[in-house]
């Protein structure tokens, strides 16, 4: 048994973080955040060169064939940099949807494009994920109609992958969908409402148990969001610790005040165990099928709650500077807010965990 990262994982993590540090300084982040599309062509293409997009794509389709833990580590790094990259939908959820539910021919058509960064999928789960916002889609004879509200990673999507209530997914070309774009509270990722009017759609029919396959995609998505939240919260905590070591008030470095010191101690006590939790949940998606759903629900819910506290407290540590736009700390605060609400909030995730364990029967 080895509960830790491999050398390869640490090396990829180092290179991804170094790349993001170089390519996404605060002034660049501000520019990209202004449009709020959650996408930048240069950044996207450079990440392709780094091999990010093919992380989960099997080697025979041009990817690296790695696992969800690898994908989650990358998500943590992206969250840590507040990177405006439609990673969740395209790199993770769409890839897994094709692996789990598509025919060999469909895989052959799309997976190499994903790995090459040539397409960007946004994945929508009306109802299954338990988001607020009314959504409803119907599939008939190769066409999709209806509306899906609150789709993430769709700011520059080339394709939509829409899940139907029965767990089947269908691919729609973005050109055939009508979208309403919203800059979101988190300017590094938008929210898009998608309307489909008899849009030509390719259904993925290869899964024996479509609902279970859909859940594998959703579960992985939740772990990825949890990892992104962890990276974001860690950024805020690191920034607050650094600030507390420099800032002088009342003639003292503020980090020497017990009040502030204890706040930071509480943050690290809550946040650090979340890293192990995230690793475990990510590993479980590939290796421990019995625990996959439960750990995904809990990782999403617990990280959301811990990170909300960390976001507030670390902003407070920065004093007035934390509340202004000047330091840009708020990008992470808002990324944590965004992550909390997509793919089902903590309340929903925990209720699913209760269902999984049969804890809702009264007698």
């Amino acid at each position: 048994m080895d509960f830790g990262l491999t050398l390869e994982q640490r090396q990829f993590d180092d290179s991804l973080r170094a790349f993001l540090a170089d390519n996404l300084p605060m002034d660049r982040l501000r520019v990209l955040a202004e449009s709020g599309t959650g996408y930048d062509e240069t950044l996207w293409n450079n990440l392709t060169e780094l091999g990010l997009h093919g992380l989960l794509v099997p080697e025979r389709f041009g990817g690296a064939g790695l696992g969800i833990l690898d994908a989650a580590l990358a998500a943590e790094a992206l969250g840590n940099a507040a990177a405006p990259v439609p990673y969740l939908g395209s790199v993770v959820m769409a890839t897994l949807a094709f692996i789990n539910s598509a025919s060999e021919a469909q895989q052959d058509e799309y997976l190499p494009m994903i790995a090459a960064g040539e397409c960007r999928f946004a994945v929508a789960f009306p109802s299954l994920a338990g988001q607020t916002g009314t959504s409803s889609v119907q599939y008939a004879d190769g066409r999709l109609s209806g509306r899906v509200a609150g789709v993430a990673d769709a700011g520059a999507a080339t394709h939509f992958l829409i899940y139907l209530p029965d767990g089947h997914a269908a691919v729609v070309d973005a050109a055939n969908a009508s979208t309403q774009f919203h800059r979101s509270i988190d300017r590094t990722r938008p929210i898009v409402d998608v309307t489909l009017n008899n849009a030509p759609a390719v259904r993925l029919d290869a899964a024996n148990a479509p609902l279970a396959a859909a859940h594998r995609v959703l579960d992985a998505g939740r772990v990825i969001v949890a990892a992104d939240t962890l990276g974001s919260a860690q950024h805020m905590l690191d920034a607050a610790v650094a600030f507390a070591k420099e800032r002088v008030q009342f003639g003292r470095i503020i980090g020497s005040f017990q009040g502030l010191k204890y706040t930071l101690a509480e943050c690290v006590t809550a946040l650090e165990p979340c890293r192990g939790m995230m690793w475990y949940a990510a590993y479980a998606q590939d290796a421990l099928p019995d625990e996959a759903r439960l750990t995904a629900c809990h990782a999403k819910a617990h990280l959301s709650d811990v990170a909300r506290d960390v976001a507030r407290l670390t902003t407070e540590v920065h004093g007035g500077m934390g509340f202004t736009d000047l330091l840009g700390l708020h990008f992470w605060f808002k990324r944590i807010s965004f992550n909390r609400q997509i793919l089902g909030g903590p309340e929903r995730c925990r209720e699913e965990a209760a269902d999984l364990q049969g804890w809702k029967s009264r007698a």
Partner: protein, 402 residues
């Protein structure tokens, strides 16, 4: 303990209901309020002052309604406006902080000049307290004012000045006695934001709006008479002002209104066709908050009664800002969770128009974090509660430090 309405208050209640029936349609929307009031709001405010529903206890000579302080009347008024969901009048730093400070410590001339226009919303004030390097340590203000030829010449810089970009006047804490000790060297001046040499630069906050400013002073001239109470008394005056600010921030009426909005939000939001209020995991949080809001409202009634009796409420008053800010944040936290993914679209229209509900709640959620920092941070509040409220010893001075 008597919460029943005796005859005069039942008459007052009937009058208010009549007023609202007649004029309620002219009320601006409840909530918001971090913008310069528009004409509709000013008209409404004037109407409120004329009828004694705002500025009620301000003496007539200073532009108020001249009623004697009466907690019951205030409670009846607040209650009726809240019940009808009608705008109960402006609350801003001028009205909530500067006016009571002037009434307590100002000269007759200062009261005549500023109180009336301020309560009518014609003069908007901003607060010149914090500086870039003193954050929570307000007494350490370095902006200085020198008296020359009948004018104070002000030089320095302030920060976190909310509404400076649209305010008419500022109340300013500055150093006038450089030879005296930290706390005894300060004075409290009133100055026009149109003074030459005064340069407010908007400071965008995390909400995306310009809620604060940096204000730069270069040889700004302020007439000598524009001082409150006198030279070296600035720290005392500022503390009187801050006391009123803390009460404003923890306002129970705001909590109640917010809680009522939260109930409707949970009654109208759905996931998969089920109302959130019917989902115990949301409802239980709402219920906990209902208990907290109940306690907060009752506490507020207690403070109002003590204030009417001229009792100093001590620690009971000092907990208001800290407790109120945290409660406000818990309320807005549940709101953004109830909005969920559907509440993520965010475009604040700033001062140009009404934001949508989701954006407003998200702004509240963030602004509440700002309130934990501004007006004396959460930690400063806890120091005040511990040291002044519970009489715990102060932190010893560090050896060999300032």
């Amino acid at each position: 303990m008597d919460l029943t309405l005796s005859e005069p208050y039942r008459i007052l209640q009937a009058e208010i209901r009549d007023f609202i029936r007649q004029h309620g349609d002219k009320s601006p929307k409840v909530g918001g309020g971090r913008k310069r009031p528009d004409q509709k709001t000013l008209d409404w405010q004037k109407r409120l002052v004329e009828n004694g529903y705002a500025g009620r206890t301000i003496p007539k000579e200073y532009g108020g309604f001249g009623a004697t302080p009466d907690v019951m009347a205030a409670a009846v008024i607040a209650g009726e406006f809240a019940r009808a969901n009608v705008y109960a009048g402006l609350t801003n730093q001028g009205i909530s902080m500067l006016v009571p400070t002037l009434l307590e410590l100002g000269t007759d001339e200062q009261k005549r000049q500023y109180v009336g226009p301020t309560i009518r919303g014609d003069i908007i004030w901003c607060q010149g307290y914090s500086e870039p390097n003193n954050g929570s340590d307000l007494a350490n203000a370095q902006t200085k004012a020198e008296l020359k030829d009948g004018h104070w010449i002000v030089n320095g810089q302030k920060i976190w000045t909310s509404s400076a970009h649209y305010a008419d006047m500022m109340f300013l804490l500055c150093r006038t006695e450089p030879d005296k000790s930290k706390h005894d060297g300060l004075s409290y001046l009133l100055l026009s934001m149109k003074s030459p040499g005064l340069d407010p630069r908007p400071l965008k906050t995390m909400t995306g709006r310009n809620e604060f400013n940096e204000v730069f002073f270069t040889d700004v001239k302020v007439p000598e008479s524009q001082i409150v109470l006198g030279r070296g008394k600035g720290w005392y005056v500022a503390n009187v002002t801050l006391k009123h600010e803390r009460l404003m921030i923890g306002d129970a009426g705001k909590m109640t209104a917010r809680f009522e909005q939260l109930i409707s939000l949970l009654q109208t939001s759905e996931i998969d066709g089920t109302k959130l209020i019917a989902m115990p995991e949301y409802r239980d949080r709402l219920l906990r908050l209902q208990g907290e809001v109940m306690a907060w409202k009752a506490h507020n009634l207690r403070l109002l009664t003590e204030a009417a009796q001229g009792v100093d409420s001590g620690v009971k008053r000092m907990i208001i800002k800290y407790g109120g800010t945290m409660l406000g944040f818990r309320l807005s936290s549940l709101a953004v969770d109830a909005l969920g993914a559907a509440g993520l679209p965010y475009e604040s229209l700033g001062e140009d128009a009404e934001d949508d509900d989701a954006t407003t709640w998200n702004i509240d959620y963030m602004y509440d974090v700002g309130l934990m920092i501004g007006g004396g941070s959460t930690n400063i509040q806890k120091n005040i509660i511990g040291e002044r409220g519970l009489d715990l010893p102060r932190e010893p001075k560090a050896a060999g430090r300032a």
